[in-house]
């Protein structure tokens, strides 16, 4: 399998997480930022067993058919969630033709899927290399948007208390960063197996900090109008204006589209590799089949998948299964000794 380096891995995973943040809907407060940070920490804890086994050289692709099938299903559902988020947010960021009903939605999904098929056919290495450049450029664009948006910030918004409580926000944060099938697969592709645990930990911390920072920025900018804001992060970008008569929110559309493509691509490449293990005969159309399934899942179950507890359950499923497997294996080894 192709090898990727640690910075490429972190860029690849963070792009997907930032895309989910762009599509974040509903009210956000300072507590949401804390919840997302703690959610990342919780994910790190449940992923530790998987990361320990990766350190020993075992990868998801060598972990038995059942776990591979489970990871494949989860990747498809995660992809479906991403498509669903894309459809729900694309009206706000203005993607041409998206508003023209089902056909517009399918056109947007089809175009993204077509690009994803091409990218995933180029392999993990090419995907990871381009993701690093896209992440760097995207970061630069986002920084520009944030700098100009900060002129409209309202510090009092930080004092608004969360009605639903911290646990609901942790659940929300836990579910938002749910691409753990891809995380475990991609982490297994990193060059140095000895540093995988460290790389994984760095990623979770980076995600926690980044999520909190993005949400806090959205709170500061949209604080006053949070009640009427459907997508706070996207709205924060729209409020960014360098000059009184000039807007730059189309810059956000570019970052949004690019991150959407890479977020879906990560899931498509994961599904492609797992399909290769499960059905080796299916040679040509693995990623096409996976993307079609993702579109279908997103279209039919999108609303359900966007529920925080469903997203959190999907995120937790694979690491828990891997942990249980690890415990059973240890017991088997100790009983045989």
């Amino acid at each position: 399998m192709n090898r990727i380096n640690n910075s490429q891995f972190i860029a690849l995973m963070l792009i997907g997480d930032v895309f989910v943040l762009f599509c974040l809907s509903g009210t956000v407060t300072a507590m949401t930022a804390t919840g997302f940070g703690l959610g990342s920490l919780l994910q790190l804890i449940i992923c530790l067993p998987a990361m320990f086994s990766l350190k020993k050289g075992s990868t998801l692709l060598e972990s038995g058919k059942f776990l591979q099938a489970a990871a494949l299903v989860l990747a498809v559902f995660r992809g479906g969630l991403l498509f669903s988020l894309l459809w729900s947010t694309s009206e706000t960021v203005y993607i041409p033709y998206e508003g023209s009903g089902v056909s517009g939605k399918l056109l947007v999904a089809g175009l993204i899927a077509a690009v994803c098929v091409y990218i995933s056919s180029s392999g993990i290495k090419a995907l990871a290399r381009s993701a690093l450049i896209a992440a760097a450029l995207g970061g630069l664009c986002l920084a520009t948007v944030v700098i100009f948006a900060l002129a409209h910030m309202d510090r009092e918004a930080l004092e608004v208390t969360e009605r639903q409580g911290i646990f609901s926000q942790i659940l929300r944060g836990f579910g938002a960063g749910g691409s753990l099938s891809s995380l475990i697969l991609m982490l297994g592709c990193t060059e140095n197996s000895g540093s995988r645990r460290k790389t994984g930990t760095v990623y979770f911390f980076a995600r926690g900090i980044l999520s909190a920072a993005v949400i806090l920025t959205a709170v500061l900018i949209c604080g006053g109008i949070m009640e009427i804001t459907e997508f706070p992060v996207a709205m924060a970008a729209q409020l960014s204006q360098p000059f009184p008569v000039q807007r730059i929110d189309a810059l956000f559309l570019i970052v949004f589209s690019v991150f959407a493509v890479y977020a879906v691509c990560v899931e498509a490449v994961t599904a492609d590799n797992l399909l290769n293990q499960l059905i080796p005969k299916l040679k040509k159309y693995r990623s096409t089949a996976a993307l079609a399934a993702m579109c279908g899942v997103g279209f039919f179950f999108g609303k359900a998948l966007r529920q925080p507890w469903v997203a959190a359950a999907l995120a937790a499923a694979l690491p828990v299964m891997l942990a249980v497997r690890l415990i059973f294996r240890r017991r088997e080894v100790s009983s045989s000794e």
Partner: protein, 487 residues
Amino acid sequence: MTRDEDKKVIRSGLNESLCYIKSVTGSSSDVLINEFTTAGISCALLCCDGMVSSQAVAETLMPALTGIPEVKNPAELFRCIREHMLLSTDMAESDDYGDMLRRLHSGFAILLAEGMAKALAFGVQGYASRSVQEPSGEGNILGSHEGFTEVVRTNMSMLRRRLKTSELVMKLSTVGSKSMTDICLCYMKDRVPEKLLKRIESSLGEINLESVLSTGYVRPFVERRSFEFFSSTGLTERPDVLCSKLVEGRVAILVDGVPYGIIIPRLFCESFHTLDDYAYKPYYSIFMRWIRYGAFIIAILLPAVYTAIAMYHPELLNSTLLLLLVQEEENAPLSIITEAVLVLLMYEVIREAGIRLPKPVGGAVSIISGLIIGDAAVKSGLVSTPLLTMTALSALGGLVVPDLAPQITVLRFGFLVAGGMLGLFGISLLACAVLTNICATEDYGFPFTAPLSPFFREGMGDTVFRLGFRKMQNRGFTVEEYHEQNK
């Protein structure tokens, strides 16, 4: 000549040999046969008209050959010539007709003698060729003004003059079963990665073409087979540029008849480097390098972004610009995308005409295109002035990076269509695909996008910036640093 005939040994009978050569060459008018007797033995001197230096033949070869005192047998004659006469610095013996004819057609003079089943070949090449001139496409201000010529040996000498070290190796071989083109593999034996050299040699061994008439015949064999939009091998017509690449551990291929050298591997960022970058002060070089990066982006994206903004995202423009645009576009009879495609097509046609037409007519093309078509199109309202300005800027941007001209031309159209149909969303999608294609480009394990991705901090000193030579001299950079397996 078939492969069997190619290996046929030379006959000892002179007349028999000459008859055979005449039959094989079809009594071609340029094959000259001069029969004479020297040292009491009948001989023949064969040469190709126009390929040999007639002065060397008339003043050096013929007087020496005809003045040999009598010998016992033809073997004695050949031994005498080989051991006692220095008639040319490049002297060889051929045992078969194939090798003999190859040398004859390469400008050697061939000596055949009655009773001798061998031929002596004297390197007296002297064909007409273009002299060393200034490169036409890679101009610079402060560096050398010498460019490669069509003669591979002249090009080799230009490299040797710049790298007077025994580490520089130049290996000549022949490709093309009919053209028998000389190609020269150049490398620094202490710098080149051994695996890279072996793999390039084996790639060259796969060439089974009848003729090799330009570098374009060789490049597909040393590049990966999958579709790569950007080429992972570079071309240069400057010996100084080629030398700098050889010092960095790369391999170069010179093809006889072509004033360009192929560089393997090439990196994406190198398309934005010029030799002048190393002649000016670093601050100016860095500034110019960033101008080139910007020009590349403008060349590809400007018409597309203009179209996308005008059609789908007018909120990006301030009110003054928006009003100007509306005023101009409402008079134009065509949609912005149609207008943009037509203007770009027109530009490409004019450019192609300028390249293909004889130089004296080139000026006329500029007048017709610039003054008549451009002016008339704007005045008649067929094309709006802002669009024409954008297209002109984009075309100018493309000229700043001539290495990437083919890719810029096609991508400009691709992005224009994407932007015209789907706005910035379409441009973003296509940009993702193109970026991945660039990142997937990799030959012999050297990523095309290095040192950006995979990221090499040390490589930034001559990519994003340009460090001074005092800092760079201690680095001892070779391209092997970028090989993924060597990290």
